[in-house]
């Protein structure tokens, strides 16, 4: 879709100001029903984009990715009026190719959540059913990607599955790249060793195209590495037994139908035992919360974000700002994260989890010697109603990530393929094997 659109722009068939007047109107209409956006870029029609691979292409950006001059809240009240003075590297790269930002999408505060219900602003509602969740934490991105009837790619972010999850619930494609091949410079951190910026789109072609633009080692982020693509050969795919038990019946059916479809196209499948699937969740959360609790320390009412009248001493002031600015889940994670790295607990939680990560990476690597990819359903459930989510305990919320945390912990690339309404097929590959994942997506759609 994008290729043709860019050609139309360059040929003058589509006029940008008119196009964006309509696009922004549509975004507002969608937003009023679904709350996809925290901020809509009213000035989009005034932008004069550079000429490139994405001239005039609309891009939505998850609100935790810094956009210069456009409010970026990461879904939190503590950054309610924060306007970054620099662009994230991915934003610079996209602007360099002529992309235009239509708005900042809604998310769980700092990425803390699986249903976007921890968004401190309006909670995004599922594109197919406004009583249900979009998934999370990149809920707004999933929603607008589904509902946009104009060329569009969403920039989103995943720490434990926050791109795949809403992509599945909202019925769109998504790619979560290998850790380190997309720069995190300008990404408001949740957990630095786990965060990845990725994409959502209604078609694989656009996904691939924008992916190629955003990957690459960045001197502004020392945890980036060069992307070393592999051949898109896909012969044999593994199915972890642990990932296909206890599923919702609809999901089970959709999953095995999808497998059959791919088998007919010549791909071989084999079930296998994946170790540590139970332990991956707690290991993930311990690492994520420990890192998050340090990342969130900077929000203390100085220089940016929520600031109150200066009273008392710094300790009292900071505590008051943080009490007012953070939601419940953020507070829980800060406390847990602080605890698991305290002297006396650090070895049994933080360091232990880091060691389990090693074992999980090795376990995946072992299986990728045999399989070109592994698959599972993306989510264990269908999009729940908001009423149902309210009844869940925090722990029950965490357990929604069961199918996505392993790959995220190991920094493996993963693709969501929409296979039925609000149901996704999750395709996971070895580091740098995005080409294989895209191939599976193409084969499925052919």
């Amino acid at each position: 879709m994008i290729k043709k659109f860019v050609k139309d722009i360059e040929d003058g068939v589509i006029k940008l100001p008119d196009f964006y007047d309509k696009v922004i109107k549509k975004c507002k209409a969608i937003d009023s029903k679904h709350n996809c956006f925290i901020t809509i870029n009213e000035d989009a029609s005034k932008e004069k984009p550079k000429s490139g691979l994405l001239t005039g292409v609309p891009i939505s950006v998850k609100d935790c990715i810094c956009t210069k001059g456009i409010r970026s809240t990461a879904g939190s009240k503590i950054l309610e009026n924060y306007v970054p003075v620099f662009d994230a590297t991915v934003i610079s790269k996209l602007k360099e190719q002529g992309a235009i930002i239509i708005g900042k999408t809604a998310q769980d505060e700092f990425g803390f959540g699986s249903f976007s219900t921890n968004c401190a602003y309006e909670i995004p509602k599922n594109p197919f059913d406004t009583d249900r969740s979009c998934g999370g934490s990149s809920g707004g991105a999933g929603c607008i990607t589904q509902l946009a009837d104009f060329p569009h790619v969403a920039l989103a972010e995943s720490t434990g599955g926050s791109i795949s999850n809403p992509a599945a619930f909202c019925g769109v494609y998504s790619i979560t790249p290998t850790y380190g091949i997309v720069s995190r410079y300008g990404l408001i951190d949740y957990a630095n060793s786990l965060d990845k910026i990725g994409l959502m789109s209604k078609n694989i072609e656009d996904l691939k195209m924008v992916f190629d633009i955003i990957v690459g080692k960045d001197k502004m982020d020392p945890t980036t590495v060069d992307y070393a693509p592999v051949k898109p050969d896909v012969k044999k795919i593994g199915i972890p037994k642990q990932y296909v038990k206890g599923l919702d019946k609809k999901i089970e059916k959709a999953f095995w139908d999808a497998i059959k479809k791919l088998e007919k196209k010549g791909i071989k499948f084999e079930e296998f035992d994946l170790a540590y699937t139970d332990e991956a969740l707690p290991a993930y959360y311990i690492i994520a919360m420990a890192e998050a609790s340090t990342n969130l320390a900077k929000y203390s009412g100085l220089r940016y974000g929520l600031q109150l009248p200066l009273q008392g001493n710094f300790e009292e002031y900071a505590s008051t700002v943080r009490e007012q600015g953070f939601g419940q889940e953020a507070k829980r994670r800060i406390i847990l994260g602080t605890y698991t790295r305290m002297a006396g607990y650090r070895d049994q939680y933080y360091l232990k989890a880091m060691k389990i990560r090693t074992k999980i990476i090795d376990e995946f690597k072992k299986h990728f010697k045999k399989y070109d990819a592994i698959v599972s359903p993306t989510m264990p459930i269908l999009p729940p109603k908001f009423k149902e989510i309210e009844k869940l305990t925090p722990l029950e919320n965490y357990q929604m990530d069961i199918l996505t945390v392993g790959p995220n912990l190991a920094g493996l690339p993963h693709l969501n393929i929409p296979i039925a309404e609000s149901i996704g097929l999750h395709v996971v590959g070895d580091h740098m094997s995005e080409n294989k994942l895209f191939k599976v997506g193409e084969i499925y759609g052919s």
């Binding site: 003075v85 001493n313 943080r322 009490e323 829980r332 090693t358």
Partner: protein, 89 residues
């Protein structure tokens, strides 16, 4: 977990009801975390990143700094070019 102590370290003021609610929730979560005890990690090195990243440096060359407008863009209070904070102690 001594929630009072940990929240103080984290500079989080919790209300009494929050402390109560969190106590139970966090206890459940910490119990769940015990799952990791099952895994044998003797002689296993911790992985601080998913992929091995090493030796990335920046040359010692000056780069562009922010201008005054940018520095204070998001600050509510500033005085004579300084940021402001409540007293320390």
């Amino acid at each position: 977990m001594d929630i009072e102590h940990v929240s103080k370290i984290a500079r989080l003021k919790l209300s009494e009801s929050e402390k109560k609610k969190f106590s139970k929730e966090l206890e459940d979560i910490l119990n769940y975390f015990k799952l990791i005890d099952k895994v044998d990690t003797k002689n296993v090195e911790p992985s601080f990143h998913a992929i091995k990243i090493k030796d990335v440096f920046r040359e010692d060359n000056p780069e562009q700094c922010l201008n005054e407008k940018e520095v204070f863009k998001n600050a509510k209070e500033h005085e004579k070019g300084f940021f402001k904070s409540p007293r320390v102690v």
